[in-house]
């Protein structure tokens, strides 16, 4: 982004910085359009802070210029990370050789992830991602529709994490769902339940009141 280095090698995670922005129009429901928008946010964040740094370097020492941009630099790095994540996952999904049912489920999960990512950073997507306020409103509704679509698959999707009860080790999360019995059983282990009237009642309170 600073323009001072040779273009990155092929396959590099920063190639997008030396190319024109991906101008795929945003369309609710199109994962490719979301990924392009995430890329524009990353590109916009990085190039904007790079320009600000270059300008500040003309008028102040390097450490001061750097400090003037710290918050924007952190936002740029996070935006870059988000783009790395969605681009890699898009590639994973496209390279999958699994069944159609798995493919569809991964696409649904990806759509939920993308719509949620946009909803968490709406300002960024308007400022850098090419989304309009109308797109933002549509995305909010789209996310809620996707959640309803994902809902029936919630338990199979978490069962697929393949976690034995002993590794989960939670009163709330065991396979059989026997939540309330487990909670009582755990409560029974409290040393204060050993006697109906613990000695501390007499020693620490009754003796003083």
């Amino acid at each position: 982004a600073g323009g001072s280095h040779a273009p990155p090698a092929a396959g590099s995670a920063v190639t997008y910085l030396s190319r024109p922005a991906d101008d795929t129009p945003f369309a609710v429901g199109s994962p490719a359009a979301y990924v392009a928008a995430v890329g524009r946010v990353a590109r916009g964040r990085v190039t904007e802070v790079a320009a600000a740094l270059q300008a500040d370097r003309q008028t102040m020492p390097e450490p001061d210029a750097w400090n003037q941009s710290l918050v924007q630099l952190v936002a740029a790095a996070l935006a870059h990370g988000r783009y790395f994540v969605v681009r890699e996952f898009a590639e994973v999904v496209s390279q999958q050789s699994s069944s159609r049912a798995i493919q569809q489920m991964l696409e649904l999960l990806f759509s939920v992830y993308l719509a949620h990512a946009v909803s968490r950073a709406e300002g960024d997507f308007i400022t850098y991602g090419g989304l309009t306020p109308s797109d933002i409103r549509l995305n909010r509704r789209h996310l809620l529709r996707l959640l309803a679509e994902l809902r029936p698959h919630m338990i199979p999707l978490t069962d697929a994490f393949d976690l034995p009860d002993r590794l989960i080790n939670s009163t709330l999360g065991a396979w059989d769902g026997d939540v309330y019995r487990r909670m009582f059983e755990q409560a029974s282990h409290s040393p204060l339940n050993t006697d109906e009237v613990p000695a501390s009642f007499h020693q620490a309170m009754r003796s003083k009141l």
Binding site: L70, L78, F89, V112, D159, D178, V179, M183
Partner: protein, 441 residues
């Protein structure tokens, strides 16, 4: 529970096939289950105790005993060092050492550091004792008032050609090593990161293998002050420690010399690449990202099952209260984080593959891809731990008051994820390292 049975009655996809996807292939699922089976059925591990009501010392003893059994199991099985951090992922370590593994840093940082930064002669000198348990180590980098800004560390290692030793010294209490897991009372050796001086010239931060306790008596060696730093938000038996040196003499052969060298006469050879010694940090950051997604998967499973079982509200036509997952607000609290488990795990696994590739290139002398790997690992560790920490907190809230109970395990999972946002590079500092690379590009 009948409501869970309904949910499982007719899944829209093959769950085993999806498990294979999550694990990265059928063979990986088999390997994982094989490992879990060995851990869950190990005679010294299979019976667990509730540790919530134990004292700090009792918890440490319990977790150390189980960590040692796990270490022996890893040794007996002859597991690859690069696989250990996967075996020690939060899923398994939460079972073996529920309050924190005092040997975790030995396994996921000390051993990989020796493998990657010691030269061949040094590896052959130490590795036998490491694997037979005579040497138990940790990785001492962070200081009491100096953290992620590694160049700012103040512990010094000054080379004396006459005695062929380094003088390792802590100039004042602000430079005390502070935080390394296992350092408190467990380790007898440490890889210590210190400012190297030769010929009166500063040479930057370099790693040194230092004995800190006697191998037989376990007493601290002369000139060494060492102890445990005390309770934290979570992981309280990780045995984080402090360490100070009072002009401790370290043989020249104990500087890890795969990347840089100090010869007997004090002449110094620079590392082939400025970031060559960052290998362990990169490895650990990728491992942290994977491990934190692991914690998120557990939290998501807990919240999902509870959201089905829990009913609350005005009874409907069938006389039953609605399941809380029927509420849109609950769906927003739970479902995006299940999606995040899938996306973050697959993306982070790709970074792990990339790390493996770059590491082999670096060993062959090609360091071209190292800066980008370092920048990406910094960024992903920060993004994943931040996302997972926030997600686990949302999932805890989705379980209402019951999620606040220790018995739900959600508080421990949150403490674990948020620890990941803090250690091995505080997230803001890591993001700025990535930003510096991006701006240069």
């Amino acid at each position: 529970h009948p409501d869970l049975a309904v949910e499982r009655a007719s899944p829209a996809f093959d769950i085993e096939e999806m498990t294979n996807f999550v694990d990265g292939g059928k063979d990986k699922t088999e390997m994982k289950r094989n490992t879990w089976s060995k851990v869950l059925n190990h005679p010294e591990l299979r019976n667990t105790k509730a540790t919530e009501y134990m004292s700090h010392e009792e918890k440490y003893r319990y977790n150390l005993s189980r960590a040692t059994a796990m270490l022996k199991l890893i040794d007996e099985e002859g597991m690859d060092v690069n696989e250990i951090s996967k075996v020690m992922s939060h899923t398994v370590s939460g079972f073996t050492t529920p309050d924190g593994n005092p040997l975790a840093v030995h396994q996921v940082m000390f051993v990989p550091t020796l493998m990657n930064q010691a030269d061949d002669e040094q590896v052959s000198r130490w590795l036998g004792d490491v694997f037979n348990g005579t040497i138990v180590g940790t990785y001492a980098q962070t200081e009491l008032s100096h953290g992620t800004f590694v160049r700012g560390l103040r512990t010094t290692a000054t080379y004396d050609p006459a005695s062929r030793t380094f003088d390792l010294h802590t100039p004042d209490v602000s430079a005390a090593k502070w935080w390394p897991g296992g350092l408190g009372t467990t380790a007898n050796h440490a890889v210590v990161m210190a400012q190297l001086y030769t010929d009166g010239q500063p040479r930057g931060i370099h790693p040194f293998m230092v004995a800190i306790r006697d191998r037989e008596t376990h007493r601290p060696l002369p000139g060494i002050t060492v102890g445990e730093i005390g309770p934290k938000l979570g992981q309280n038996t990780l045995n984080n420690g402090y360490l100070l040196f009072d002009h401790v003499k370290v043989p020249r052969e104990n500087m890890l010399m795969r990347n840089a060298r100090v010869n007997e006469d004090g002449s110094y050879t620079k590392p082939s690449h400025q970031k060559a010694s960052y290998g362990t940090m990169v490895f650990t950051r990728v491992a942290i990202a994977l491990d934190t997604v692991d914690a998120l998967q557990i939290a998501a499973t807990i919240a999902a099952r509870y959201s089905i079982v829990r009913r609350q509200g005005e009874p409907r036509d069938d006389g039953q209260e609605p399941q809380i997952i029927d509420y849109q607000t609950q769906q927003l609290k739970v479902l995006p984080h299940i999606a995040a488990c899938y996306v973050l795990r697959a993306s982070t696994a790709r970074l792990w593959e990339h790390h493996t590739h770059v590491t082999s290139e670096v060993r062959g002398g090609d360091t071209a891809l190292l800066p980008e790997l370092h920048a990406t690992a910094c960024c992903l560790k920060a993004l994943v731990t931040q996302d997972c920490s926030e997600a686990i907190e949302a999932l805890r809230l989705s379980c209402g008051g019951h999620g606040y109970m220790t018995a739900s395990r959600l508080p421990a999972l949150y403490a674990y994820a948020t620890a990941g946002a803090t250690y091995e590079g505080e997230n803001t500092v890591l993001l700025l390292q990535t930003a510096r690379y991006l701006v240069k590009q």
